[in-house]
Symmetry: C2
Subunit: 168 residues, 2 copies
Amino acid sequence: MRKTKRREGGKTDNRGTAGPSSRRPVPETDYEAVFRDFLQARGLKLTRERMVILEEVFKHDDHFDIDEFHMKMRKKGLKVSRASIYRTLPLLQECGLVDEVKTTERQAFYEHIHGRRHHDHLVCLSCGKVMEFYSPAIERLQEEICRRRRFKSLRHVLEIQGHCKDCA
Amino acid sequence: MRKTKRREGGKTDNRGTAGPSSRRPVPETDYEAVFRDFLQARGLKLTRERMVILEEVFKHDDHFDIDEFHMKMRKKGLKVSRASIYRTLPLLQECGLVDEVKTTERQAFYEHIHGRRHHDHLVCLSCGKVMEFYSPAIERLQEEICRRRRFKSLRHVLEIQGHCKDCA
DNA sequence: TTGAGATTGAGAACAAATCTCAATCGTGGC
DNA sequence: GCCACGATTGAGATTTGTTCTCAATCTCAA
Ligand SMILES: [Mn+2]
Ligand SMILES: [Mn+2]
Ligand SMILES: [Zn+2]
Ligand SMILES: [Zn+2]
């Protein structure tokens, strides 16, 4: 009982951002190039959906979860399925453009990290605000701990939960 | 369409651990007293199920998730529903007997912390092993970060993921 | 231009956690 | 000890985030 109509056709809107070797009315951005090269190197295809998602991610200057993200796209009239978003974000992660922050809450959130450095998070339990911090000292101590145990660290999550100064 | 039969009766097995002022064939443990006092103070009832769960938690000397925990109880013939476990563990948390460790993986896990100190975790992505560590220096640095931002920290999660020395 | 193979979307499937509510239990007051 | 009544339980339903399915569709190297 699956709907038969699909991709209600229409505006292909290639915008020239992706055309293999066509003129570029809009110069390709860094992150577009990064993503394109990544896809190519992996034998993956540069689809309209993937590009739309990429652009949208880089318009967000904040942390976001997938549902919220999907909703915003729909409101703008950008037709991309939730499934594609769930499939594309891990790709963006793999090429280092996006970071998935697995929270201790139920939903993971994402943020683009184009050229940004690793950091950890303070999460306000009242208003949901997410603040960032980076402590070289903490990072060093973690490395030290792993070294002592001969544990090969691949990643870590440090999330401090509490109340921000506005909610105290 | 709910089953009508309930609590297939039988062995009440009070074991004397909970009797209000009866003789105590088995001396009450610390944690039993802690839990009992907590329940009393909150006007909650000391039920067979809660006691069974408590005992079982303190037989586990490791981290466990609820489903695994429930399964083990069933195998032993201890009849307690998953729902009751989901309801009781937060109580044990509130009275400080148990710690819920929200991981970056999907399932949270628990551990009893009777008299034990806060610590953080190294998780091996190959074998699933969980190792513990405690770094006063890291804790201090976190406090410092919160102070600087006037953030009131209630809890934190620090989980380092990677490969343990046996899996490297 | 074309076809093999990758991708998509809608909804189904999954899984952890929470909720529902009738049947049952625990406890303080008698 | 017995009672009454609020608390608790269990089985299944529900919720919710995420992943899977697969026919239709698209992409791109040749
Ligand atoms: Mn961040
Ligand atoms: Mn632990
Ligand atoms: Zn806040
Ligand atoms: Zn291991």
